[in-house]
Chain length 460, copies 2
Amino acid sequence: MMKTIPHRLYLTEDQIPRQYYNLRSAMPELPDPMLNPGTLQPLKEEELYPIFCDELAHQEMDGATEYVDIPEPIREVYKMYRPSPLVRAYNLEKALGTPAKIYYKFEGNNTSGSHKLNSAVAQAYYAKAQGITRLTTETGAGQWGTALSEACSYFGLDLDVFMVKCSYEQKPFRKDVMRVFNASVTPSPSMKTRAGQKILAENPDTTGSLGCAISEAVESAVTGQNSRYVLGSVLNQVLLHQSIIGLECETAMNELGEYPDIVVGCAGGGSNLGGLIAPFMRDKLQGKKPGTRFIAVEPASCPSFTRGRYAYDFCDTGKVTPMARMYTLGCGFIPSANHAGGLRYHGMSPILSKLYHDGYMEAVSYKQTEVFEAAVKFAKLETILPAPESAHAIKGAIDEALKCRETGEAKTILFGLTGTGYFDMTAYASYLDGRMDDHIPTDEELQRGFDSLPDIPQNK
Amino acid sequence: MMKTIPHRLYLTEDQIPRQYYNLRSAMPELPDPMLNPGTLQPLKEEELYPIFCDELAHQEMDGATEYVDIPEPIREVYKMYRPSPLVRAYNLEKALGTPAKIYYKFEGNNTSGSHKLNSAVAQAYYAKAQGITRLTTETGAGQWGTALSEACSYFGLDLDVFMVKCSYEQKPFRKDVMRVFNASVTPSPSMKTRAGQKILAENPDTTGSLGCAISEAVESAVTGQNSRYVLGSVLNQVLLHQSIIGLECETAMNELGEYPDIVVGCAGGGSNLGGLIAPFMRDKLQGKKPGTRFIAVEPASCPSFTRGRYAYDFCDTGKVTPMARMYTLGCGFIPSANHAGGLRYHGMSPILSKLYHDGYMEAVSYKQTEVFEAAVKFAKLETILPAPESAHAIKGAIDEALKCRETGEAKTILFGLTGTGYFDMTAYASYLDGRMDDHIPTDEELQRGFDSLPDIPQNK
């Protein structure tokens, strides 16, 4: 008799992982090193200390250590909202008429409404442990800013958030949630930083981007008292912390006697996808599960993987950060005002970029109208209102399940449902009213982005 | 050695109750019967059929049956978001320095963001099973409307929601969530019904109330094609469905070897409180646990229990419903624009009213500023942003825990955390900006409400 698989599997508290998993340790080739933009030499750990607290700088550079112990104060916070459920999407499967089994890991059951809290807690803790008193950051959709506000409030740190202007305006209540947790929130670009002033001088009507907001937050940290900058995605350290998502999935699927054939995640900077795939990609890289497919889903309006270049680029628009080799649209690329603010980023995690470049991952892109169509379908069937970012993964998973309907294959699909869309109702209303803009960048617009790539020997 | 109690206890899917518990069956005296307002005679079940579908009319009138089987299609939906977690508020306990153990049952982990989905699913199912094609309802805070939208979308029913105007305006995005689930939403009072027209003629500037919205929804149901009216609180049937909250609490606390000394819940119409207390009140009424205390927490701006009268009254403002004997401020009472829209109701569940009248329950009221103070404290400590309604229970539980600090007693406190506050950021902003209005009704204002009570022999 087949084992009955529940709709939702919650692991117990003592099954929360005790170690993060460092996917770099399994990679045949490491991502190329970050470069100091002044010297064009590989960056040394110490050079990151003014920006990141020491432990996080170390985690950023350490590609070798396989497992990193999770400090107990971090696990104490995790216990307040983890383990997150692994859900079997029975209703979605039935509605699609697919033989595929669809699972999703739901990370929206906490106040921040997303997976972002996993890394926020870690970064706030390490900063606090070093005696840092103030953090700065950027936020796109607002989920990272909310998560970090919670974490900083918990550990007693001050926080300044630079929020991408179009999100700030689309989601007026996001800033109030951050204010509940004592954070100060500024729409970006702003006049508070030289980077913001410069961007506004060049493009006064810009609705901002994650790249702009990062420039401002970094500047605000390195010029501030006892401050450090923290980032919610892209970085190696963030993927390390987010491995907790994948590790919990692995344990839960083990309990069910399952293993994914296809792992699907939305990709903006790569934090969720990199965490979700960690143990499964390890198995693939180590030859244990060579056939597993990994699919990054991105918006057609900001197609880093599918139309970008694999090149050294700045992580920000103002060109104040180190350079990383990644799939990028160019740090000068300003995406159209897509509602998935968390995916409006010119670059991509160097780890995921390397895996994609080396053929271990696939990528697809969708226009936002078809993404919201999937979101509404999912909400009605599965009683969770997804964030627009998360809905990209839903759309990707649905399309793979529909392929299974064609071929008759009962594949096991796992996707990451990163968060809830309670603060995205402007976007939903725009979809429901048929007012959603599906602009995708023209080749000329992409070229203008590529023209902003650093003109350095490494990019020849 | 003491058993380690986890932060969150999730029961398994097969521990979802298979039967609702009917608290009336344990009451020494039943609540007084509803009256037909025309004849002033006790209402017969058949007289409810034009308003409610037959099974719900039966549940409304049936005080004797102890347990009611939950139909499998309802349990199938419950499996998508239940069992809900029982959480130990370790951080809150520590911050309060109390020897008390504080538990809360968190019902916010579903799209509707509240416990309301428990009854919405049941009511939509029974209507569908009878061949009804359209439902009408009212919503205050918007949680009930959202929950019912989800349930109607799931079972394929049309839905018209009359939303209290002040909530409609305070929470512009609530209607968009309901639209995702295909519901039609109208701010109330409206010109769509004769009841709404009459209320607007008498008081053109009214911000509405649950009582007004009920009048409109009932009229819209009884004058519509193959339609029935459903209500998210107050009614006996709703408390029956919500007993699932208490039953899950009982099972979870059993597993932990715990039993509550004090049970605390917010009370608007009584749906959450009535469900939460069900098995524990049964134990008290049956003499097994005579010492358990039950505390209803209500807003000082709408103090049905603490300043109301125990009298026969209409459930709505337009006087179209049957009369129920309950604690009431008078169906003509219009509460000030308190941010806890879900608690702005003139009356109270007849079951809870009877229990309170007979001395089995206590009640307290708080001003909204002190409630939001508790909400913000809780959000920072427990990483859940509570709905304003739920925050009343938090405030009540905190005050009981502080009394334990005074006396040194390690009491076990259980409260109901009914939902999340993602759509209440206007209220939070008003609190954070120090702009919150703490108006409580004057004796004259209360008297005007009492003057609207039916002038019938039963009220002499």
